[in-house]
């Protein structure tokens, strides 16, 4: 009963201290602002995707007219042109959980026209046009408020608990009334824990409403809640031990801010600095060298091109190309397919480099909680590096499919009609 009274009495402490109330309001304001930033990005990306899809629809409608004529253009009947003018796009559709964590969403492109000449490392795979200074500072999103502002607000809420009594000399009186000093301390700080749980849960719920999260990915809501509350608990435990040992307000503030600075700034920054020494930024010379490989392809004799194509797609060995035109077309398309293979090969080295970097970052998670939580939240929001890697893989898969289909169909001298044209769209847009 005594402990419950302590817990309830803390409410009075809280509302009588304008600094604490302002700190909580600031956190709430920043988190709401961040949630709206996330929601705004979600709607913006969705709208842009819808706009592109609409444009593709119109372009395709226009191109389809070629097949309604009595005597269709010969080029429209060729698989390469039909696939090209299908305007196949791959999208990294924003997940509704992006409302919580914008993560790395602003560092990559989210739509791409995929054709035989594409690669997942093309220029249009880079971020949307944005102010680099803004990207550098990062957008305030919910995860920012949670990871960086919550510990500071907790600091403001807790820094003088127990130390104020110690400084004013009535800690002994408290000890007389509450022989179990730790229970007294716990009861008081639990009030703030509960307050924060209510605020954070409310904010997460509010965020879910902004992007209709419950309709599409309700599990993200619970995961977000789980990680947010575990993060809150992590700081509470840390601060609790500081308060238990603390003798004065100044000492507590100094240690608490020191721990915050260490965990939020110094450790991640040191890891980042060390990583860039161990693995400096990749200048992608492997990809650049593909340019020369491609160039050399044009110099190669047809027999060698065909030999390599047979290795790539053994099935075509058994198909005899019927016309000269088909033969020339098939060989030309073969260049793209072989260049694509060069690109894939060189991309492996880049992926390996990224993998090594990511492994290094993961290995630091045990002493680098901010990065751990940041990446977990990004994963929930599907704005993690790996989500964009999956997007790149999907693009590569589409390029491979396009090349493969084009070669097989050209070899088979397939004449594209409206049905086939639509079929291509269905296959490559999957």
């Amino acid at each position: 009963m005594k402990n419950i009274n302590l817990f309830l009495y803390e409410w009075k402490h809280f509302i009588r201290n304008p600094f604490k109330v302002i700190a909580v309001l600031l956190l709430t304001f920043a988190a709401i602002y961040g949630l709206h930033n996330g929601a705004s990005l979600y709607h913006k990306q969705k709208q842009e995707i819808e706009r592109i899809q609409e444009k593709v629809k119109e372009d395709r409608k226009e191109y389809r007219l070629n097949y309604t004529k009595e005597d269709p253009k010969p080029s429209a009947q060729e698989p390469i042109m039909a696939i090209w003018f299908n305007h196949i796009y791959q999208f990294k559709k924003p997940a509704s959980a992006i409302v919580y964590s914008i993560g790395q969403a602003e560092q990559y492109g989210f739509y791409k026209w995929v054709n035989v000449r594409s690669s997942p490392y093309d220029n249009d795979m880079t971020q949307e046009i944005a102010n680099p200074e803004r990207l550098n500072g990062g957008t305030i999103d919910f995860s920012f408020a949670l990871l960086f502002l919550l510990p500071l607000v907790l600091l403001v809420l807790l820094y003088n608990i127990r130390s104020l009594e110690t400084e004013q000399g009535f800690i002994t009186l408290v000890e007389v009334q509450h022989p179990k000093n730790t229970t007294w301390l716990l009861s008081r700080i639990t009030f703030y824990l509960v307050l924060m749980i209510i605020i954070i849960s409310g904010l997460i719920f509010y965020g879910a409403l902004l992007t209709n999260l419950f309709k599409t990915m309700s599990s993200a809501f619970f995961l977000m809640l789980l990680y947010s509350l575990s993060y809150l608990l992590f700081w509470f435990i840390l601060y609790y031990y500081i308060l238990r040992k603390g003798k004065s307000i100044i000492h507590n503030s100094l240690v608490m801010i020191g721990v915050y600075v260490l965990i939020a700034f110094i450790i991640p920054a040191t890891v980042s600095q060390y990583l860039s020494i161990k693995h400096p930024a990749n200048l992608m010379t492997d990809l650049i060298d593909v340019r020369d490989d491609r160039w050399e392809l044009y110099e190669q004799p047809d027999s060698l091109i065909l030999k390599n194509l047979y290795i790539l797609i053994p099935k075509i060995k058994d198909i005899s190309v019927s016309t000269d035109r088909a033969k020339t077309m098939a060989k030309n398309i073969g260049y793209y397919a072989l260049a694509n293979e060069f690109m894939k090969k060189s991309a492996l080295a880049i992926e390996e480099d990224s993998k090594a970097k990511n492994q290094f970052i993961r290995a630091t998670f045990w002493f680098n909680p901010i990065s751990f939580y940041q990446n977990r939240l990004n994963k929930i929001a599907k704005t993690h590096f790996l989500d964009y890697k999956a997007y790149r893989d999907k693009i590569q898969e589409t390029i491979d499919k396009q090349n493969h289909t084009m070669i097989i169909d050209t070899w088979n001298d397939v004449k594209v009609d409206q049905k086939k044209y639509n079929e291509y769209y269905t296959i490559f847009s999957e």
Partner: protein
């Protein structure tokens, strides 16, 4: 006043806790400067190797059609600035590789940040991170009880009875703590200079000087404000929480919120809209690969008239090369228009953001720090402009060779030799001189000065209302 400052320093040195913290700071600074320098060295080495590799590829061209060479193109890598060891600015966000080719002005790609998962929201362990976020906290902790503790111990009364001017005491206290920050600042700049002694030149010295002045002014504003709270608030803890609150708002809340808002006030187009607009504008002009184009006809007539011949086959030169160059020239106009608009929006965003310095000196400090270190968006744009200027010259040489090198119109099989390709100079980055961009940072320095002035006024007013007991 000097005596009080000396006395304050004696007290600071005697504090074992502060000595330990200072030692920790000095070590962290040394580590940050050393690691920053090491990273710059490694990155520069990688940059040099990549640049040489690319040049080697270019020079190894035996024979190639000049237009083919324009498509083959080359690549430019963004070099790291010498001062990026102090403040990296936007470098990890902007890309590192720029493809230089005919018909198109490409964007810089492959940023460091995009090559891995998230690590640090506040960047790497550079001096700027410590100087902008951590040192101010230390200064706040040193200053917040400076006057109050004197009041409580009765020393303030004693000093006043000895004839000290209250304003002198307050300013001496402010300066003594400010000097502590300045000492850390000097240390980081000095160590950095020593590590790079062979590469330092006058422009860098000027940059470091302004870098130093910006931080010096900010620290003064911060120390003064904390001392002011220490005078005004009865309880030391109140002074501390007020300053911590201000630190949070200044460094974490305000810059982020303002920057996001600025991007909403001055909107940038989406990539798709931007590219479509350029494509539309470009298609109105000459298309080098489209002989049916009207502009082509006009150009053809012009050239035929100039050479006094009736058909392209009679021309002593290769009309295709002229056509390509005309197409480039038109393309350049389109790119200048669109990229120019983009740069204007970015400029407006920057200017609006800089105005935030009137409410928050941290914004001015951050701008000045990365600006004077040569790593803000303005310097990044300067780099891009240099690359584009190079690209235009590069493509023009190829088109001119195609037109006037000895081939005839339609002769796509004609090839220029190795010596020609070798004669085309490589891209040489010219670091932006501080004198050419200084005007952009005046506003930041003015706001920092303004804050120094405001804080001095506050200190004078605070001194007048100061309660001795």
């Amino acid at each position: 006043m000097w005596q009080i400052i000396k006395n304050e320093w004696h007290l600071l040195i005697r504090s074992r806790a502060l000595l330990t913290v200072s030692l920790g700071f000095v070590l962290t600074f040394l580590v940050s400067v050393f690691l920053g320098d090491l990273q710059s060295q490694k990155q520069n080495k990688k940059y040099k190797t990549a640049k040489e590799h690319l040049r080697e590829k270019w020079e190894s061209i035996e024979e190639m059609n000049p237009h083919g060479a324009a498509h083959y193109g080359t690549y430019v890598f963004k070099p790291s600035n010498l001062l990026s060891g102090l403040d990296e600015g936007v470098n990890s966000i902007t890309g590192n590789v720029l493809r230089v080719e005919g018909h198109v002005q490409n964007e810089i790609v492959h940023s460091e940040a995009s090559q891995m998962q998230s690590i640090s929201k506040f960047g790497k362990l550079k001096s700027s991170l410590l100087l902008q976020y951590i040192v101010p906290l230390l200064l706040i902790f040193l200053a917040f009880q400076s006057i109050n503790s004197e009041k409580q111990s009765g020393r303030l009364k004693l000093m006043l009875m000895q004839g000290q001017n209250p304003a002198n005491i307050v300013f001496a206290k402010t300066l003594s703590i400010w000097l502590y920050g300045i000492a850390l600042l000097i240390l980081s700049i000095l160590v950095y200079t020593l590590l790079n002694l062979n590469h330092i030149y006058s422009d860098l010295i000027s940059r470091m000087l302004f870098f130093f002045i910006s931080y010096g002014l900010y620290y003064y504003a911060l120390c003064g404000l904390t001392i002011y709270f220490s005078i005004r608030w009865k309880h030391t803890s109140l002074a501390l929480t007020s300053m911590l609150g201000i630190w949070i708002i200044w460094t974490i809340f305000f810059p982020n919120i303002l920057m996001s808002s600025v991007e909403k006030w001055h909107k940038l187009p989406s990539r798709a809209t931007f590219n479509t607009a350029m494509k539309n504008d470009r298609s109105k002009g000459l298309d080098g690969h489209n002989p049916a184009d009207e502009r082509r006809k006009h150009l053809e007539e012009q050239v035929l008239k100039q050479y006094k011949v009736d058909s392209l086959s009679q021309l002593p030169i290769n009309f295709d090369g002229i056509l390509m160059q005309e197409d480039e020239t038109y393309g350049n106009k389109v790119w200048d228009k669109h990229f120019g608009e983009l740069r204007n929006v970015l400029k407006q965003q920057k200017q609006s953001y800089q105005l935030g310095g009137v409410l928050n000196p941290f914004i001015s400090l951050q701008n000045a720090s990365m600006g004077f270190a040569g790593n803000d968006n303005l310097h990044h744009q300067e780099f891009l402009v240099q690359v584009e200027t190079f690209r235009r010259g590069f493509i023009k040489s190829l088109n001119d060779k195609h037109a006037y090198g000895g081939s005839k119109t339609g002769d796509w099989g004609w090839k220029a030799n190795k010596s020609f390709y070798k004669s085309i100079e490589d891209f040489q980055y010219q670091p932006t001189a501080i004198s050419s961009v200084f005007s952009h940072y005046i506003v930041d320095l003015v706001f920092l000065l303004f804050w120094g002035f405001i804080v001095s006024i506050l200190l004078i007013l605070g001194t007048k209302k100061m309660q001795i007991l």
